[in-house]
Symmetry: C2
Subunit: 116 residues, 2 copies
Amino acid sequence: MSVLLRPSQALHLWHSATLELVRSDAPDLTLRQLSILLHIYLVPPPHTVRGLASTLGVTKPVVTRALDSMGSLGLVRRSRDEQDRRNVIIQRTVTGALYLEKLGDIIIEQGKELPL
Amino acid sequence: MSVLLRPSQALHLWHSATLELVRSDAPDLTLRQLSILLHIYLVPPPHTVRGLASTLGVTKPVVTRALDSMGSLGLVRRSRDEQDRRNVIIQRTVTGALYLEKLGDIIIEQGKELPL
DNA sequence: CGTGAATGATACGGTAGCGAAACGATTCCA
DNA sequence: TGGAATCGTTTCGCTACCGTATCATTCACG
């Protein structure tokens, strides 16, 4: 089954959710960073820089920089792939999981108050 | 009635929608800019710099800069309030309406493919 | 009038993002 | 074993964003 959203509902959901996200004291990530973060936590591992860059349609430095930023926020963690030491495996953290849990709560909360 | 989203659905919806948004050739706005744009188009006018800043919980220069950026993209338009010439009224444009229509389409499209 | 409040824009110094190109480390393979 | 390919990072020059503070314009009100 699908989540049935009408056009006005879809935009209102994003409106209220982004509004709440901006108003919150959560570190404000760029859309690209948020997309990377969601991908890491919602798609089965392993995740590499090259893989993420390809998936998002961006260059590798974009992913490296996003990992730098989010890494210093504790949202993700890097580790070398010991099988092929050229690769970097991006891993999840407790902090990152909590961040996304909070994001999920915001979306759901705003979804409940959508006009029909 | 409300839009019933379960936690995993909420995050998956945002995951696929942000992914599609990043991959698209649409100008990539910051989260704050997107929030401002949605607010202008979904909440009844008039919209002023001060009002938007207060609503979003950000400073006025943030709104001014966002309007500069989105203005040069043609997404919004500024005009003086002739009743009180201190105010600037932010107005919608055809380009902005099309941008949000496209965003709505992306969200709906991704919502249809959500796992139950 | 004219003084103070209110509004939006601007200046400033600093930080972080961008794409393109080059770089070191590692692996592949001939 | 040695050259090419792959992977992630770094560098470069540039643009855009941030918060704080300040500015010009306009209005309200004594």
